[in-house]
């Protein structure tokens, strides 16, 4: 992408110098530098952005990671960590003059401590593999991003990933205990502990969601939770998205925190239904999927309460999954929503804003207006319980200028989220993609504070340069005005 050139972050070490140094610490098959070998690493899940790295390093031991970091630090070479490459914000986009450090070979589950209900795993372990390994002890790892069959736990920590169950069980940051991290100087440190807290600053929180900007995660200890005795899901159809939105508020006002509470709009319902035949009501304007879990008794109590609330909130139909198979089918449509959209459009672009839920009608209306303005269709998938909105913009990259229009449209959606008091990213991260919108969300002094924190860990700026936090220069170029608190473009909206 021309608009994302690395002009701000140029480095000048010659490839041969780097390769010669790395050869001393890595086996032949752990070091790639021929362009045909590099191309599988040229992008992450946001394939609109592509860049070949200078070198790919695929170490197998922590000591090798430390060596790679020491060499890069010494030679002044940038390092971009990569887990499974499913990220959706270009966080693992390589640097042209740098090392792409793949953690793909760190695949072992090191220990499952059933007494203390934790698992210690290497960073390349897939999210779902942890729950699979813990299942025989009737334990599981709660955060479940839709990409869980593929994404790595290291990537989850780096992005603070969420999932459809995070309203009740929290995000990655709430479900990890300890990290081992290699600093840019090549030192190995332990952050957090096996207890519920650790002395000093909460570096565990700071490291979570830091997008590979502060260190490389080489080991993760996660909390495991007891598998609920039972889970039950309800599907409710609505003839109006706004009604579906208020149903969400009504459930929460009743004192029930569902395990999952997801909304899909008409276009997503139809696409998902065509794809996986989940039996979704395709004439509905919106559906809500509401899962409650816990003990048998708790689920029975809550499921009838939720059913009543959905009905009194104007649902045209409420179905309860009759068994686990039907429950899986209800979820299948939601979990396959992204690929389902991929079938009906040559390309799609996934946004990730979070808003205070009460502003849902305003934001959906705003998106609809922008959609007609840009002539691009949008399907909305929504982690409704926690206000995290995923509008999917449908476009065709082969049509000249359409990607640029899509990006602009996407940027406008994120700005709209900020205007109503929300954020530009709920779980996918800033990466390379939303770097300009950071200028909208934060003031100069706040961005400077972020840079100072980055400097505390990485004074030379070698870890994932150019991502996550824009330089002030970049913001000036982008020309974005921070949306000042109290001077909102939507003064009629009640905020307090």
């Amino acid at each position: 992408m021309s608009s994302h050139s690395h002009h701000e972050t140029e480095f000048h070490t010659h490839r041969d110098t780097l390769v010669n140094a790395l050869r001393k610490v890595l086996a032949d098959d752990a070091l790639l530098y021929q362009s045909e070998d590099l191309s599988p690493y040229e992008c992450d899940g946001l394939s609109a952005y592509r860049q070949l790295p200078m070198v790919v390093a695929i170490p197998t031991t922590i000591a090798q990671v430390q060596d790679v970091m020491r060499i890069c630090n010494q030679l002044n070479v940038p390092v971009v960590a990569r887990g499974a490459g499913t990220g959706l914000s270009g966080g693992a986009l390589p640097h042209a003059q740098g090392v792409l450090l793949s953690l793909a070979r760190f695949k072992s589950i090191l220990n499952i401590d059933t007494d203390n209900r934790s698992a210690t795993v290497q960073p390349g372990v897939r999210n779902l593999a942890i729950s699979e390994a813990a299942a025989k002890y009737r334990l599981y790892y709660a955060p479940d991003p839709s990409s869980q069959i593929a994404c790595s736990i290291g990537g989850n920590v780096a992005e603070n990933s969420g999932g459809v169950h995070c309203l009740k069980y929290g995000l990655t940051v709430h479900n990890i205990l300890q990290l081992k991290v290699v600093t840019i100087e090549g030192e190995l440190i332990t952050i957090g502990s096996n207890a519920l807290d650790a002395p000093g600053y909460d570096l565990l929180a700071l490291m979570t969601g830091s997008e590979g900007m502060l260190g490389v995660i080489v080991e993760v200890t996660v909390k495991l939770l007891p598998t609920p005795e039972r889970a039950q899901v309800l599907l409710a159809a609505f003839d109006d998205v706004v009604k579906a939105g208020s149903a969400v508020g009504n459930i929460i006002s009743a004192g029930i925190i569902p395990a999952g509470l997801e909304m899909m709009d008409k276009l997503s319902i139809q696409a998902a239904e065509d794809f996986v035949h989940a039996g979704y009501p395709t004439d509905a304007a919106a559906i809500l999927l509401c899962e409650v879990d816990g003990t048998n008794e708790e689920v029975s109590d809550h499921i009838s309460a939720v059913r009543e609330i959905l009905q009194s909130s104007g649902a045209t139909e409420v179905r309860t999954a009759k068994d686990d198979a039907e429950r899986a089918t209800f979820w299948k449509g939601r979990k396959a929503a992204f690929p389902a959209i991929g079938r009906i459009s040559p390309d799609y672009y996934c946004m990730d804003g979070t808003i205070p839920r009460k502003h849902l009608p305003t934001v959906l209306k705003g998106i609809e207006d922008l959609s007609s303005e840009y002539g691009l269709a949008v399907a909305n998938v929504f982690h409704a319980g926690d206000g995290n909105l995923h509008p999917l913009i449908l476009y065709n990259a082969n049509v000249e200028g359409e990607l640029e229009r899509t990006e602009e449209f996407g940027g406008k959606i994120l700005e709209l989220c900020v205007e109503v008091g929300g954020t530009i990213t709920g779980e996918h991260g800033v990466g390379m993609e939303k770097i300009n919108q950071m200028c909208v969300q934060f003031e100069t002094a706040e961005l400077e504070q972020f840079h100072a924190v980055k400097h505390a860990f990485d004074a030379k700026g070698l870890l994932n340069p150019g991502k996550a936090v824009p330089t002030l220069h970049r913001c000036a170029e982008f020309g974005a005005m921070h949306v000042h608190h109290g001077e909102l473009p939507f003064p009629e909206l009640e905020r307090f």
């Binding site: 002395p199 029975s300 109590d301 100072a452 400097h455 860990f457």
Partner: protein
Amino acid sequence: MGLNINEDISQSLQERVSAAMNSKTALKIVGGNSKAFYGRETDGEILNVSGHSGILNYEPTELVATVRAGTKLSELQQALSAQGQMLPFEPPHLGESATVGGTVATNLSGPRRPFGGAVRDHVLGVKIINGKGEILHFGGEVMKNVAGYDLSRLMAGAMGTLGVLLEVSFKVNPVAENELTLYRNCSIDTAITTMNEWASRPYPISGGVFDGENLYIRFSGSENAVEAARKKFGGDELEDANNFWLRIKEQQHAFFGGDAPLWRLSLAPASPHILLPGKTLVDWAGAQRWYKGEANADDIRQAAQKSGGHAVMFRGGDRDQAFQPLDPVVMRLHKNLKQAMDPNGILNPGRLYAQL
């Protein structure tokens, strides 16, 4: 909705911090002074934040409350309770004057912590004054937010050494429909094992304590869920259970009496009982052990570390060494962070560690 919003004094606080930054004068940040005993001592000019108070925005259906740091914790809890909601971390007040700012700065959480999360888990956003006298916002009022580094949670437990808290947005939760506390007499070893066995099963547990005599388990949930737990767990129902949990959380239980130093050991929850001269109260279903006794500080710290955690000299011992020493590389990163947030080292210097 807002409640009891007093005059906004953030600007005068900011001016004080800026002036202190320029003259390199240390500031001692004070809220309600209820936790003045906790941690190391700092002796700068007093910066009193308690006047900066009020509940700025509380939206029960959004599960979010934004509060000025000087607001009394009890006032916030009353407002939540009027809507059937609560702070899920059950914060100890340790004094009537406790404020929201002090609650976040110390990151102390009550018995619900292993099930409901800690203070830091519920901080969604903050407004602070950093050591340069700049007013900054991080995070916000939404549940999920990964824009920028998580500097909001970083404030929790930082003891005011990284910024003066002006406002905090919390995630709040509904209060459970029913609660029940069951107890039975047993040994400390049996209590630790039993708590952990129960916590490994999908029951609606919200507290696990052993007070030297009895094991207490609290259940919170729907009526039928709590009743089912009663049948499975057995034991006797504790009358006046709210008062029991309050006395544990506020350290008013008889265990906490007497002059011996009080230590807080934070451990992997199933760790066996650590034998030290004195007595132990188990909280957090095993993950937090209160130890009252005269054992040598190094022995206590080593034992805690062996059990996967650390020890804090909570009250009555050598305040200079309140917190477990850090690994040298981790300490270097701490110093760098302090430098990044408070370059002249004026905010509560030495309150957490001598070097910060």
